[in-house]
Symmetry: C2
C-alpha cells in the first residue's frame, strides 16, 4: 500500500494535467494505492468536478475515494528563484507535499513544478542519506536496446570525481530496483573509450570507478547512448555531470520534432511517424527521481501531460514497492563502513 | 587558384576513399584548382589506375593532370598516440602534407586520419595565430533551419572562460567566411537561458562574451541545437568546450540509425527515410576546420566516404577563396591591439 503525494499545482499545464494524471494513474494502479493531491483545495475540487463531466474520465472519477485533497495555500511558480521560494513559501504545495513524507503520512512525492525548488525542498525536508554530498537526477533515456539511466541530468553542474563515483552507485541501485536489471553495467560518459580520454574530472572518476565494486564497463561515448550499448556490450547506467547530462537530454528531446519534419518533407505519413517516435519522448517514460534524498522525490517535466504524470506516479509506486530508498541508505552505509575499515566498497 | 593537399593515407577507408574523393572534387571544382595527393606514391598510383578502370570514375580520370602525387613514406595509424606519432614519423603523409603549406607550396591540408595527430601536427607545422592559446575544431551541425557551427567539438577537453570567448570569435569568422552569414548570432551552450545558469566556466564565459563585440545572443540549450534557433531568434554559432561538443556530436551521429530502425519497425519505407535522413549525417557536410592555426587544416571523419572527402576538399577551397585564415589572423591582431589600448574588442 503506497500513498503518493502529487503536487497538483506544479507544471506548465497544472492543475488540469496533474489532476487528470492522478485519475489515470488510479485506474491503472493496484486498488491498495492512493494519491494525495496537494494544493489549493478549491481549485483541485473544481478540476475534479470538471473532469467528472468529461466522458474520458467519467468512469475514472469512481476512484475519488482513493484520492485525498490536501490544502496548501501557496504555489511555487516555475520562474521563482529556488532558494527564495523554499524559504518564503513554507505553505506551498511542494513543501506541504514533502512534509507529508517526513511526517510519515505519505510514501513519495511527485512534482512537475520548478525543478530547482523541488531539489532544494527535497534536500531540506527529506535530507540526504549519510555519506552523500549531493543528490542526482536520474533520467531514463530510450535507446535502440533497453532504456538506459543517465545521471546526473541536471542537479549538479560542477562535479568532483568522487561525486561522479557516487552517482554511479546511485544509478546501479536505480537500475536494479526500478528497471529490474541484474548487476547493471555502468559506463562513464567521455570522449573516447580509453581510460586516458576525457577531461580532468572524468579521468580521475574513471580510476575511482574501477575500484568501486560495481560492474564498470569503462568509458562510453555520445554515440553509445542512442545505441544503449558500447563495443563491450549493453549499458544500463551512464554517469556524467549535470551540465553534460542536461545538454544531451534537452538535445534528445528536440531531435524527434526535427526528424519528423525532415521525413514529412519526403512525403512519409506523419501519423505513423508520430506514433513510432512517441517512445523518443522521455517524458512519456515517467518522472526522474532525485536520488540520494532520504525518501522519494520524483521530478517530472514541466510540460507533463496527464499521461506523463500518470507514469511519474507509477515510478513512485515502484520506488516504494522495491524499497529503493531504504536500499540506497543501507548500501551507502555499508560503503561508509567498508571504507572506514579499508575494505573494498561493494 | 587553390592547391589542396589531401592526406591520401588517412581514414578508415583510405587510400581508396581518399583518392576517389579527390577525383570527385576535381570534377566539381573550378578547373583552376588542383589537388596534391600525399602518401606512398606506388599505392596512390595503383589506386588511380584501379579507379580509371571503374566506369563511375572513368571520365573523372581525365582530371589526372590536376593531380600531383607527392611521396610520403610513412603513415600515421588511427591508433597511434598523437604526440609520439608526430615526433616519430616526420615523413608521414600528415607532416609532409602540412609542410607543403608551411613552405608555400600548398594552400590547405585535408585529412580523415588520426584527429589528435592532425591537431598536434597542425600546431607544430603551421603554428597558432598570435594571441591564441588553443585551436578549436569547428563542426557544422545540420538543423531544422540553416546549419550551425559548433565549436569546440573535440580539440580541448578542459577550457577556460577566456578560451571559450576565443572560440566564439573564431566561430564568427568561420560563419562569415564559410557559411556566408552576416553578423553571425553566437550562443553559449548551457543548461538554461539565464546568464546565471551553467557551470563555473560557462558563467564566467557568459560575462566575457557580453563585452566581446560580437552578436552574442546569450545562453542556448541542448534543445536549441536541432532547432538551429533559440527563443531569441536564429543561431549561427554555438560555443562549448570540446568535451561537451564531442559528446553531443557523437550522440547526433548515432541518432539517425536508431530512428530509422524505429520507423522501419512501423512499416515505413526505409529507402525514403535513408534519403531524408542523409542530411543528418554531418560527415556529408564536409570537413571540420581546425581554427586558430596559421593556415588551413581540415579534419575529416575517419569513416569518410569519397563524397565526404570531396566535400572536405570543397570546404578547404572556400577557406582559401575567402581568405579565412588571413581574416582570422587580422581580426585577432586587432583584438590584441584594442585590448592593449583598453578599447572594446570588435
Amino acid at each position: 500500500m503506497a500513498r503518493i503525494a502529487l503536487d497538483a499545482m506544479g507544471g506548465d499545464f497544472a492543475p488540469r494535467a496533474t489532476v487528470a494524471g492522478a485519475l489515470l494513474a488510479l485506474s491503472e494502479l493496484d486498488p491498495a494505492h492512493s494519491i494525495q493531491l496537494v494544493g489549493q483545495t478549491a481549485v483541485i475540487n473544481g478540476e475534479l468536478d470538471a473532469l467528472a463531466r468529461d466522458s474520458e474520465f467519467a468512469s475514472v472519477t469512481a476512484q475519488r475515494n482513493r484520492l485525498d485533497v490536501i490544502e496548501a495555500a501557496e504555489t511555487i511558480a516555475m520562474t521563482d528563484k529556488p532558494a527564495a521560494a523554499v524559504r518564503g513559501k513554507p505553505n506551498s504545495s511542494m513543501l506541504v507535499g514533502l512534509r507529508l513524507q517526513a511526517d510519515g503520512e505519505s510514501d513519495a512525492f511527485v512534482s512537475a513544478g520548478n525543478t530547482g525548488a523541488q531539489m532544494a525542498a527535497s534536500m531540506l525536508v527529506l535530507r540526504l542519506h549519510a555519506g552523500l554530498k549531493r543528490p542526482a537526477i536520474a533520467t531514463v533515456f530510450p535507446t535502440a536496446r533497453k532504456p538506459v539511466v543517465v545521471l546526473d541530468s541536471g542537479a549538479n553542474v560542477d562535479c568532483s570525481p568522487d561525486e561522479l563515483a557516487q552517482f554511479a552507485r546511485l544509478g546501479v541501485m536505480y537500475a536494479e530496483d526500478i528497471l529490474g536489471r541484474d548487476n547493471p553495467a555502468v559506463g562513464l560518459l567521455s570522449i573516447g573509450e580509453e581510460a586516458e580520454k576525457g577531461n580532468a574530472v572524468v579521468k580521475e572518476a574513471h580510476q575511482l570507478l574501477q575500484s568501486a565494486g560495481i560492474n564498470f564497463v569503462g568509458n562510453v561515448e555520445g554515440r553509445d547512448l542512442p545505441a544503449g550499448a558500447c563495443d563491450r556490450g549493453p549499458i544500463d547506467v551512464v554517469v556524467c555531470d549535470g551540465f553534460v547530462g542536461n545538454v544531451v537530454l534537452k538535445f534528445y528531446e528536440a531531435i524527434a520534432p526535427f526528424i519528423i519534419r525532415l521525413l514529412k518533407d519526403s512525403g512519409l505519413d506523419e501519423r505513423t511517424m508520430m506514433k513510432a517516435l512517441k517512445q523518443l519522448d522521455y517524458s512519456e517514460h515517467g518522472g526522474a527521481p532525485l536520488l540520494g534524498v532520504n525518501g522519494v522525490s520524483i521530478i517530472s517535466h514541466g510540460k507533463s501531460s496527464p499521461r506523463a504524470i500518470k507514469n511519474a506516479i507509477k515510478v513512485a509506486v515502484q520506488a516504494i514497492e522495491t524499497r529503493m530508498d531504504e536500499h540506497i541508505g543501507r548500501r551507502l552505509q555499508e560503503g561508509v563502513s567498508a571504507a572506514a575499515e579499508g575494505k573494498p566498497v561493494s
